[in-house]
Symmetry: C2
C-alpha cells in the first residue's frame, strides 16, 4: 500500500503555486522546497511507476491540465543512461532512490562536445536548472547493482516539448519529442478507502 496522498498533496501545492502565475525564480525556489518534501519519504511511488525496463523509463505522474508543469518518475535500470539532450523549460530533479550522475556537455560547432560539470545526486537531494541556463547534459544510474529513481518537475508538458538530442562526437543536434513510457497515470483521487 503506497502513501499516494503525499503525491496528491504535492500536486495540489504545485497547482496552487501555478495559479499565482509565478516567475521562474519562484518556481525554482518554492517548487524545490515542495519537491524536497516529496522526496524526503520513499513510501508513495506506485510499484508500476518504479519498474525499470529495457531502457530508462519516463513515467508521467501528473501533467497540469494547462500544461504549466509536469511531474515525471525517471527510472534508471543498471547501466542505463539518457542520450545527450536539452529541455527548453525550467526543471527540478529530486532523488528518490539510489543515485544518479548528470554530466553537462557543451557543443563545439563541427567537433566533439566538451564535457562540463559532473554532478552526483543522493536520496533526498533536489537540484534546479533555469530555462535560460546551459542545460545540455546526459544522466545515468550511479549505482552499479540496483535501479535508481528520480522525480523530475518541468515548466511545461515535458513529453510534448520539441527539443533536441546531441551527438557527442559531432555536436550535431536532432529534433526530439520524448513522449512518456506510460499510457495511464495513477488515479490519485479515489479517497474512498481513507474515508471508509
Amino acid at each position: 500500500m503506497t502513501n499516494i496522498s503525499r503525491l496528491r498533496g504535492f500536486i495540489q501545492d504545485m497547482t496552487r503555486l501555478a495559479g499565482e502565475n509565478p516567475a521562474e525564480e519562484r518556481w525554482l525556489e518554492e517548487g524545490a522546497a515542495l519537491l524536497r518534501g516529496l522526496v524526503s519519504h520513499d513510501d508513495w511511488l506506485p510499484a508500476a511507476l518504479a519498474e525499470p525496463g529495457p531502457s530508462y523509463r519516463q513515467y508521467l505522474l501528473h501533467c497540469d491540465p494547462l500544461e504549466r508543469f509536469s511531474v515525471v518518475s525517471f527510472v534508471w535500470g543498471i547501466g542505463q543512461r539518457t542520450p545527450v539532450h536539452n529541455h527548453k523549460v525550467w526543471g527540478l530533479v529530486g532523488m528518490l532512490r539510489g543515485s544518479e550522475v548528470s554530466v553537462t556537455m557543451h557543443p563545439e560547432p563541427g567537433g566533439p562536445m566538451r564535457t562540463g560539470e559532473v554532478d552526483h545526486l543522493k536520496p533526498g537531494e533536489v537540484v534546479g536548472v533555469g530555462s535560460g541556463e546551459e542545460d545540455i547534459h546526459w544522466v545515468e544510474n550511479a549505482v552499479a547493482d540496483k535501479p535508481s529513481i528520480s522525480i523530475h518537475v518541468y515548466g511545461g508538458n515535458i513529453g510534448a516539448i520539441e527539443r533536441h538530442t546531441f551527438n557527442p562526437e559531432t555536436s550535431a543536434r536532432k529534433r526530439f519529442v520524448s513522449g512518456y513510457t506510460n499510457a495511464e497515470v495513477p488515479n490519485l483521487w479515489d479517497r474512498s478507502a481513507e474515508m471508509a
Copy 2:
C-alpha cells in the same frame, strides 16, 4: 486509435472555466455547452474505460487537482442500475452511447419513497442538475441488449464526496462514498505521436 485530443481539449476548457471561479449557474450553462461538444462525437473514449463489468462501472477520466470538478465515464451493462442516491454537488450528464433512464425519487419519512420524474437520455443529449435541487434518483441502462455509456461531470471530486444511498422501501438513508472503478486514469498528455 481513439481521438483522445477531444477529451484533453474538454478538460482544458473546463479547467479554464474553473479558473474564473464561476457561480454554479455558469458551470451548468457553459459546462453543458462544452459537454455537448464532447458527446457529439463517439470516437475518443479509450476502450478500457468503456468496458462493462459485473455491476455498473464509474471510471474516473479526470479529476481537477483542486477538486473543483471531476469527469467520469459511467458504463451500464445489460440490466444494470445504480442504487437510489444523491450527489451534494452540481452535475452534468451527457449521453455518449446507447441510452439511460433516470428516475427521481422522493423520500417519505418512515415509508416507501415516492417515484417522481422519469427521464430518458439519447446520444448527444446533456442534462444538468443544480446542487440545491432535489437530486435523489436511480439510473439504469435503457437499452435491452447492449451496454450504454454516459459522461458525467460533477462540481467536486465525486468519488470522494460523503453522500447517501436510500432504501426505496423505507426511505432510510445510508452513508456512501462511491470511489472509482479504476486505479489508473488515461495519460492525455503524450502528444509525441501527433508531433512525430
